[in-house]
């Protein structure tokens, strides 16, 4: 009897409390600072070009082979009258998000800190109706960094 009354008061106290539910599509939980979604390329704002030089390091290191990298001579290099110090630059870059397993190895091996894991909600809400739409090309990969949505990298 005492136990019943006690538990009734407990349930009443939970009734008075604020619900813990987050209504997901409308409200997003704040992501942890080291959240890791899919890899994206970074944009060098001072040179108006990607950091990536197309060195294939990430492509070779990728365990699931979800990347395709093509390199070209940088049309903006100092030798041809430009102001960039990058001799080679990325021409085309595809990442198949359908294959990527978010292992972070591409970020670890990159010599130019040109690739990073997406740490925004946009990286988690990538559902599409066709698998082919999960293959991201260079403008798509750079979009997050160019718009400044990416939060700065936090060292562990």
């Amino acid at each position: 009897m005492k136990g019943i009354l006690k538990s009734m008061s407990v349930t009443l106290s939970t009734f008075m409390r604020k619900p813990v539910t987050r209504e997901y599509p409308e409200t997003h939980k704040e992501l942890p600072e080291r959240d890791r979604a899919f890899p994206v390329l970074l944009w060098a704002e001072e040179d108006k070009e990607p950091f990536c030089t197309g060195c294939h390091a990430c492509e070779r290191a990728c365990p699931v082979e979800c990347m395709t990298v093509l390199m070209k001579d940088n049309p903006n290099h100092k030798s041809v009258g430009g102001d960039s110090s990058r001799r080679k630059i990325i021409d085309k870059f595809w990442i198949d998000y359908g294959r990527c397993m978010r292992c972070n190895i591409c970020v670890e091996v990159c010599n130019f800190d040109a690739i990073s894991m997406n740490n925004t909600w946009a990286g988690h809400e990538t559902s599409v109706y066709d698998r082919a739409d999960l293959v991201m090309d260079l403008p798509m990969l750079l979009a997050q960094s160019r718009s400044g949505e990416l939060k700065p990298w936090v060292a562990p």
């Binding site: 538990s7 349930t11 009443l12 604020k18 619900p19 539910t21």
Partner: protein, 381 residues
């Protein structure tokens, strides 16, 4: 012969027709509202939000559920008894519905004022037991028949304390006419004079309605929904409708008989809208407590349930009736009468708590393992 309705004189048949239609519409809307409110309240008890997607704040959730149930296929198992199976929902639904005839929503706002209103209501609402057995029997399903028989056992057991507790109040109110009982409480509600009867009524009411912690007939984890296993679509929704309508009617009766209905605390001269508000508030309180108990207390075992009804509630309600009779027959001064009634009620509540406490805290017999000797070990070789 004419009856006044909304200030107009009308032929009896038309008057009855209009009142019954109002009741049917009210009942359906109330049940849908109750289902929505139960889901919301239950969700808040579990720190959830409940339905939010259908309409503003999920208000249309019940409408969506009703539409889905109506659109669903009405399946009848091959081996089910066609007549019994198909008629069972009506036997559950109609008695609850005709019980609404005497319920006093406000003064002058009932279908009929019957002198034996309370008696009629209890007699009518206990017929739905037949529907439960028919549903269990007609389904040709073992779970269904176990559920049906459990519901019979439980409802018959709890019918007695329910009736006797209401009888105790009827003795104090000196009437079986629900409208008179309510009007007689303009000064003070009956719960003051009969607290134990209210407690017994409330417990027996939850048991009658097969709501947790007394939902043994429909316990999902034991008999997968009891008598309703084989039902679907519109027939199943009739059971559901009857269940919530019964909850509503029982809460109304409880608030009318014990809490003073529309008469307490502002007297009979209150305007009709305010009377309805008062009844609604009291009924909602009763229903809220039913939800609250539902969310708190785990389901009882069938033997605990039976023991609770026959060994505790029934003797106590008999004792209350005896005390009431002894007090009322001598026509003592009003103050002394009321003091004796209230005192006996409070004492009864304490006796009840003491008995429950004792039975809960009693050491339970543990199963003893038979010690295995070397001899028996050898014998098995």
């Amino acid at each position: 012969m004419t009856w006044p309705l909304f200030g107009m004189d009308m032929p009896v048949v038309l008057d009855l027709f209009i009142r019954m239609n109002i009741i049917v519409i009210l009942m359906t809307v109330m049940v849908m509202g109750l289902i929505y409110i139960e889901r919301k309240v239950l969700a808040r008890f579990q720190m959830r939000l409940g339905p939010t997607r259908t309409g503003p704040m999920g208000l249309l959730q019940s409408v969506a559920d009703a539409l889905k149930l109506v659109a669903k296929e009405d399946v009848r198992p091959t081996n089910a008894d066609p007549w019994v199976f198909e008629l069972a929902p009506y036997f559950v639904f109609v008695p609850i519905f005709i019980g609404f005839v005497v319920v006093p929503f406000a003064s002058g706002l009932e279908v009929r004022v019957l002198d034996l209103g309370l008696f009629y209501l209890l007699a009518a609402s206990s017929v739905n037991l037949v529907g439960w057995v028919m549903a269990g029997w007609g389904s040709d399903n073992r779970y269904a028949i176990i559920g049906g028989l459990r519901s019979v056992a439980q409802s018959i057991s709890y019918e007695l304390p329910l009736v006797l507790s209401l009888l105790a109040v009827a003795m104090v109110a000196d009437s079986l006419n629900l409208t008179e009982i309510v009007a007689g409480q303009a000064g003070a509600p009956n719960i003051l004079w009969q607290p134990m009867a209210f407690l017994i009524f409330f417990i027996a009411m939850i048991a009658e309605l097969n709501r947790p912690p007394f939902d043994i007939p429909v316990g999902e984890s034991e008999v997968v929904g009891g008598p309703f296993v084989e039902y679907s679509g519109i027939r199943w929704s009739m059971f559901f409708l009857a269940e919530y309508a019964a909850l509503f009617i029982m809460a109304l009766v409880g608030s009318a008989v014990f809490l003073g209905g529309w008469a307490w605390p502002f007297g009979e001269q209150l305007g009709l809208p305010w009377q309805i508000v008062l009844t609604t508030v009291k009924t909602s309180m009763m229903i809220f407590v039913v939800f609250w108990v539902r969310v708190t207390v785990p389901r009882m075992r069938i033997d605990q349930l039976m023991a609770f009804a026959w060994k505790l509630l029934l003797p106590l309600s008999f004792a209350q009736i005896l005390v009431n009779g002894a007090v009322l027959v001598y026509e003592l001064p009003s103050g002394l009468t009321h003091a004796l009634l209230a005192g006996s009620g409070v004492a009864g509540v304490f006796i009840m708590m003491w008995v429950i406490n004792r039975s809960v805290s009693r050491p339970r017999p543990r199963p003893v393992l038979i010690p295995r000797t070397d001899q028996t070990w050898e014998a098995t070789r």
